[in-house]
């Protein structure tokens, strides 16, 4: 029982990070129907920006978090303008291949600049203390921080999407791009905002993962990025609460598998789940089935 609870706690903190990344995936997919492969690498860049802020500029945790989010937001807009905007009306495979290209570019440019060595986050940025609420279960304060920050960002995102003008525009563009344009919505700007918000969340996830696991490297974004995509599909792609639920689920299942079965199989589980969900209910947990019209 204690082990189960312990795995649940670990799973929730890992899941929060997946949830933050998959929110960006879901938002971008919802608005331009593109699997943004580069999203996982924006998360990696976020981790590196946080590293530079903390280690070299000696900034505190929250300043670094915010700087990293802003940097990633700008990077997201830049990528969208350079690589995805010219392809807005082309085939989806074309856009997907471009996304892979951007992803490789970010990974290997980071490797060229920062070298492939693994970097370690400073350990004293956040209080590193443990307490045990129930006997046998150990919770690190950092895990609490990660969970609270994720919930806070998630609520902020819900507020932006449902209560502000930008959010309204985003929902309109994702429902029908042409109709939205006719209603006087600036579609290009709305897409840019979506990339900015999604990338900022990925940047936040990058800093949190740096704090949680301590080590970062240029290829760290690849697998979590794919898993976050699995999370987005699991919850129903394009649906924001779905991505959140999917992220937490994947995180929890993954820690359960590495706790009870073998840590070597944990990466396979996410993909097995993906294939299962695609075969059973491709629209995802919260998704609705849409009929194909000819």
């Amino acid at each position: 029982m204690e082990q189960l609870l312990q795995q649940l706690v670990n799973g929730l903190s890992l899941g929060s990070i997946y949830a933050l990344i998959s929110l960006g995936y879901t938002m971008v997919y919802g608005i331009i129907r593109l699997i943004n492969f580069a999203h996982g690498d924006i998360y990696m860049i976020g981790a590196y920006v946080g590293y530079v802020c903390m280690r070299h500029l000696k900034l505190g945790f929250f300043e670094s978090l915010i700087i990293s989010m802003v940097f990633c937001a700008l990077l997201g807009i830049l990528i969208e303008k350079i690589a995805y905007k010219p392809l807005r009306n082309s085939a989806r495979i074309t856009a997907l291949i471009t996304a892979i290209g951007v992803s490789l570019f970010l990974e290997y440019s980071t490797m060229a600049v920062a070298t492939a060595t693994v970097r370690t986050y400073p350990a004293d940025v956040l209080i590193n203390k443990t307490f045990s609420p129930i006997k046998g279960v150990i919770v690190n304060i950092q895990q609490v921080y990660i969970f609270i920050i994720t919930i806070a960002l998630m609520l902020l995102l819900q507020f932006i999407v449902h209560k502000t003008r930008i959010g309204k525009a985003m929902r309109a563009v994702s429902a029908d791009k042409d109709a939205a344009r006719m209603m006087g919505i600036n579609v290009d700007n709305t897409i840019s905002y979506t990339f900015a918000i999604g990338s900022a969340l990925a940047g936040a996830a990058g800093v949190l993962v740096g704090i949680y696991y301590n080590t970062i490297n240029p290829l760290m974004g690849m697998l979590p990025g794919l898993k976050a995509f699995v999370a987005a599909v699991f919850g129903g792609i394009g649906i924001i609460p779905g991505a959140f639920i999917g992220g937490l689920t994947i995180g929890i299942i993954e820690t359960m598998v590495s706790g009870y079965v073998s840590s070597l199989y944990k990466d396979a589980v996410a993909f097995a789940m993906l294939i299962l969900i695609l075969l059973v209910k491709p629209s995802g947990l919260l998704g609705k089935n849409i009929r194909e019209k000819v």
Partner: protein, 317 residues
Amino acid sequence: MKDTIKRLLQYTASVVLLYALIQLLIFAGIINEYYQVTLAMICINIILAVSLNLITGFTGQFSLGHAGFMSIGAYTCALMTLRVGGLFSFILGILLGAILAAMVGFIIGMPTLRLKGDYLAIATLGFAEIIRIILLNLDFTGGARGLADIPRYTNWTWLYIFTVICIVVTVNFIKSSHGRVCISIREDEIAAETLGINITRYKVLSFVIGAFFAGIAGALYASYFYYIKPGLFGFLKSIDILVIVVLGGMGSITGSILASIFLAVISTYLQAFAEFRMIIYAVILVIIMIFRPQGLMGTKEFKPEQVEKRIKERNNR
């Protein structure tokens, strides 16, 4: 009829001539050990690219898991030659590897090919990752260390034979009625279905053929480079193959061949700068997608007859 036979003879003669020429250069030492590696890479990449082109370029099914099939062929052949030994085990290993890869392709293809576009890409990627993780965890595959000291049987002759077989089979498949069906699925899936075509069957067919040749390429790879490990057949390898197909043109066999040669030569020269090679790959991908999304050759083929015709026309003028 006479023309067809004449052309067939011409093609056969040029295929044999090319083989003899390069074999001669190898004997003469002009193509040294170093360039022979490039030559092997070109042949293996051609097989991989042509087989992926059949799936992605001609049937229009976007697969990101080609390296997974390659790894099955590679491990089968490596284990065969390591455990049994001898030239016979090498040939058996290639065939067994290819058949095993085709079978896995069938098992993977049956459920996933119902999916479309992006979802299919992610599902194939997921399957390739699962294959990699299984290879990583099995005992007899050597885990993360992989298999070393694989006897080398692959040489220029074998590489050339299998490359030619792969190209000939693929080209003839595309020209057959089955191949035409595959192209119709690429052009418009719904229209093809309304014409009474069992689209899943043909998608799976092209997927299985593609996997078969990817298995052969993997087997040749294992037997040429002495050493394999699961990390070699990851997501990046699949992307490598995809870059070749996209660069050459999705739906052009000659495009894939030219792109294989071009990229193998580039990466030989950029060997010392592995990171820059990947950055250049990435930039090439993005630029081609933005400015020439159909690839260098598009769906066109390079045919010697057309060049001949054009020269004749110019002379007559």
